[in-house]
Symmetry: D2
Subunit: 375 residues, 4 copies
């Protein structure tokens, strides 16, 4: 008799295949679920493999559009970056994948959901917190002693699960050294802080749907070796670990959005929003996409983006993204106000008062401390 | 009869030359003061020019070593960056220059210090807040109506003071497109968060004094077109303005230090220190280097750097800085702990408890909100 | 010939009466404007005084309801408190008063608005920043040299403007020592973070409009000597100054709202909201009620209050506010979950995993530092 | 044969007595350890009880002085307060108690330490994180299934462990309604942010050692019913729970220190320190006293206290603490600067410039948004 039905997040690879077989051996009915979020994968072959291993049903779900619109776009608005470097690619994929998995489990009446993430990583947390937030029960074979003890000796499985050699790890980006020596110049148009159009200025071609825009930026960024990093990061679990990532399209968007945001947003609004963006990044990295605080932060950030509108011109070359210029109908940038030629409403004498008042505190401090200084 | 003695921060250029002449016309004795903080300048020619314009005395001061050690190094420790992009080059030069100027004024018994910074910019504030914090009186000709009204019609002076055309603006960095196609690979060694040695790995040459290290990194970064940005920034005065900067050495150090910091510092210490770094950057940008709060923040940041020690390998190519690897005697990075092969002290089952407790709050929220989600 | 029309924020007191007369002497037409925000004042007498001093028109405006609903309520939601002590009473009155003044100026075609706030205080800033944000030109006599030089010798005017002796300063609150020795017990009902009903539990009487609620809480709080403080505070202008305040109703609301907020709001949402509340308090204290950042912060805080709903019972006695209990249909407080008797969904073993994972970082730190400790 | 030696944090109560017996039954040698941190307890009776239950050794340790100096004083410097209300009494006792326990374990060669904190609370975490940070192995009976399953039916043990009825819960403070109707007026002298002397102004008596000072403030505060709160708080474990606390001495110190801090500390230093104090409070509440980040924060906060020096006069009456006045040799409070009579160095016209420059941003925003407002 069946112990119940499990929806397994299946990748087609060796590790989740082992889990599929093991779950069946333990007496579960297994529904395999493959999420297409844009990775390079033969989904038909994976489907057949799952069926041949005994999956009762196989779901291959195209989540690419919702991944871009509902997960990547809010991250672009947030200028999301973990520990000043990591653009959170995988981190935002997990809640998107798990959300659909929970939906399938509900619809199919499954008692369990399972994943193949290992017991020392972040993905187990991102996956499971999403499930707990959206749905009750979970089964995570990698942390079940019977499971990981059985596979302990299987060097091939463990090897697979380990960090792959760096040479193989990049599948989207060219080595910058081997990339073209002429730049591609793009114009990215934003509205409410998300890209609504990308134009290749020389070729005159444009992309306008979210999925097309993101795919195209990945392609251009990849061609020029943009967005590769080799870092040590702090996992939620309390360990430092090495991570090698490539985020070509995300890197272009990060720079372009940052430029448009500072161009159009009030300085003090942005200072507050910058703090919220740091909150957002940590929450998402740690797996709290579906949490009251992340929902709240996303709402606030979206509010801040209402006037982030305009066009940024960027040049992409040899791993680097250069901002060439920007324009916006909503920027408080005021060439006349800044100009030295035009005095206008601005009276330079006011600056004296401004400085003197700012110095009141400093003078008092000087009086008390009798500032000494080396020369 | 003299109205008193003014120490003028003199650049050798047209604008401060005009000020020098005007101050003399107004009846002041003028001491010209030229600070060498590493800029490309013919100091002898400038000295002669000042003398010929009637300066009573001329001081040419080599501040390069103290600029690097007392101003740039703390900024490296802070990972100082304003509005996520600007590495604060000019901002940290002002307090260094003004400090010496105040010292000369004291030593020479001068009643005034003056500068040539314009009335809409940040530099006037940085300059004057330093002086108010360290010394009493100030004279700032650009904001004196008699001065700027007189020169209003002098198109040449105004032109000079305006933003120079971008083509001329870069004097330290090559255009990345024209830079070498082979990288330079450096090893930068840190102790207490500041660089103590830079080695060119292929050539085997090293630099070990702060000034040599910084000069060398400027040279290498400049050769590869590193650190050019074209941004719009928010001035303290409340305006948005365009800025074009080049910070070759600073950009290399920013990336190398960030890498070493995350490698060696506890995650939670770094989260707090990250906030202090943002405080530091805003304070310095706004001219508050000499303030109780900036002093306090510098102290705290320096404390956080005690274990930021080790070597980072970086590759510099075509405007980009790549981190290749790092090592440290003081990193909590523990390959064994992270490894999938070695279980050690870490029990993967603990992660279940960790996740479940983190989910307590989320489940309660779910219970209350009855989370609905689109599919 | 008239130099133009000024709308003067007129208090009926000596200082603004002087200003009224002086403005007329200088050749301005003066419209006197008295705002009723709930202060104890004979508005008819003030109107007559203004007319007798030569005001062209006199506006007495009852702003009490809009002051409570549009200014006090958002401050309650924010738990607004400056430097951990000051409940911002005057600070939030200024933008309310200035907004109507600007409106009158527009409607009457006046070129100027003026106020009687002194040149070293905060109120001048709060007043003027509101005007600049909403309307162009301003005239502030206290900072005009002709004005303050003329009145320098007038000891009586200066005396009046100075801090009044503490014995006179409290007009709303009784001395706690002289207050009743039996408490009043109230139940305050909140919806979306603002009070919607106050009931005196013993008397069974209720108040339900914002103005009635606030007036009643002032009365009850005043009777029991609640909300008196004697502090030194940091003005925006950079000085420390002494302030003596009484905020009886505001103090009761501060405690009751805080209790309901923590009861109903997710812990992590509240941590973020706490930071926004600090931002809000500083902005309002410094005069930035009408600014893009304060608008943004108010929006975010209001969003956080959606579930702040329920009833708090408070006892008011001898200057202190005691929270007796609370109930809410929307609290994640779950007696069963917390109880030691009921295990329910919660497995105490999970806490072991939670603690061990939280300790991973600490153990590594111990390994590196070799923690020594005194005994 | 013994399974090893356990040092048990023993309270003398029913719950830890049960644990003692149970540990012995399981085959452990048990060392009972009672910490005296100032609680009202018959330590001799508890020692005898432990011996009679079979403890191999009993340690009764007087930690009162080190608790005050090393744990309470830093919390006073931090103005530590969790969720704006809870003064952290128990939270800071745990690391103090656990530190000595670890020391005894080392000295006695014990393999285990154990405590009686329950599996849903905060104390288990505070206790265990301290041990993990300072020492390796731990045994926590309350979370061992054999233990809590066995005692599940024992209603008396569970009852004891539950929240005690509120009527009994206050042992240090009088009901404010029953407290004296005449105040006690104290002068508290601070140096480097910690109290160094307390004087009863009427009686003329003083206390000068940390333990005496704190004990005396507890006595005075207790007599007047100061520091009782009834709150719902957010536990680290993710639950909301009710807590009833009394902190008489801590409440007096909180208010007195806050007053002296704002009086003597630069405004902007304090803004940064305020954030660090919030960090500190959350860390300590969550059990991270011994962590790199809490160590770092304590260091920074201590640095901020260098000039927090002077005397505060406070009146304590009917549950409330009133600040009467303060004096300090190190305050930047400058009566002359603030005074309306003395113009001194301060030019009121500078305020115009200050305000106008602060308004530049607001005017630009107005221009873009065309601010509309209701009347």
């Amino acid at each position: 008799m069946s112990k119940g039905t499990v929806v397994l997040a299946y990748s087609g690879g060796l590790d989740t295949s082992c889990i599929l077989v093991w779950l069946k051996e333990q007496g579960y009915d297994v529904i395999a679920y493959l999420a297409n979020i844009g990775q390079d994968e033969d989904f038909d072959a994976a489907r057949k493999k799952a069926e041949s291993l005994g999956a009762k049903k196989v779901f291959v779900e195209d989540l690419r559009a919702e991944f871009v619109e509902e997960f990547i776009w809010p991250s672009v608005q947030a200028n999301a970056i973990y520990e000043d470097r990591y653009l959170l690619g995988t981190s935002i994929a997990r809640p998107c994948i798990a959300r659909r998995q929970v939906l399938i489990a509900r619809q199919e009446g499954a008692q369990y959901v399972a994943h193949g993430a290992t017991g020392k990583g972040n993905d187990q947390i991102r996956f499971e917190l999403t499930c707990y937030a959206l749905y009750p029960s979970i089964l995570a074979p990698w942390r079940i002693p019977e499971f990981y003890n059985r596979f302990k000796g299987r060097k091939d499985l463990m090897d697979y699960a380990q960090n792959h050699p760096p040479s193989d790890i990049f599948c989207m980006t060219k080595n910058p050294e081997d990339s073209p020596s002429a730049p591609d110049v793009l114009e990215i148009e934003f509205s409410k802080g998300v890209p609504v159009k990308v134009t290749h200025l020389k070729e005159g071609t444009s992309k306008t749907t979210p999925l097309q825009i993101f795919t195209y930026l990945n392609e251009i960024g990849g061609r020029h070796g943009v967005g590769r990093i080799d870092i040590v990061e702090n996992r939620f679990i309390g360990m430092k670990c090495r991570g090698i990532y490539e985020t070509p399209g995300g890197t272009i968007l990060y720079h372009a959005h940052l430029d448009m945001e500072i161009f159009t947003m009030d300085r003090e609004v942005r200072r507050i929003k910058q703090g919220l963006g740091i909150n957002f990044s940590e929450l998402v990295y740690n797996g709290f996409w579906y949490s009251p605080e992340c929902e709240f932060v996303r709402h606030c950030i979206a509010k801040s983006q209402e006037n982030v509108e305009g066009k940024v011109q960027v040049s992409v070359l040899k791993g680097h993204v250069y901002i060439l210029g920007r324009e916006s109908p909503k920027s408080p940038y005021n060439e006349e106000l800044v100009s030295m030629d035009v005095q206008g409403d601005y009276n330079p004498c006011d600056a004296s008062g401004f400085i003197k008042i700012n110095a009141v505190r400093l003078k008092e401090y000087n009086r008390l401390q009798n500032y000494s200084f080396r020369s």
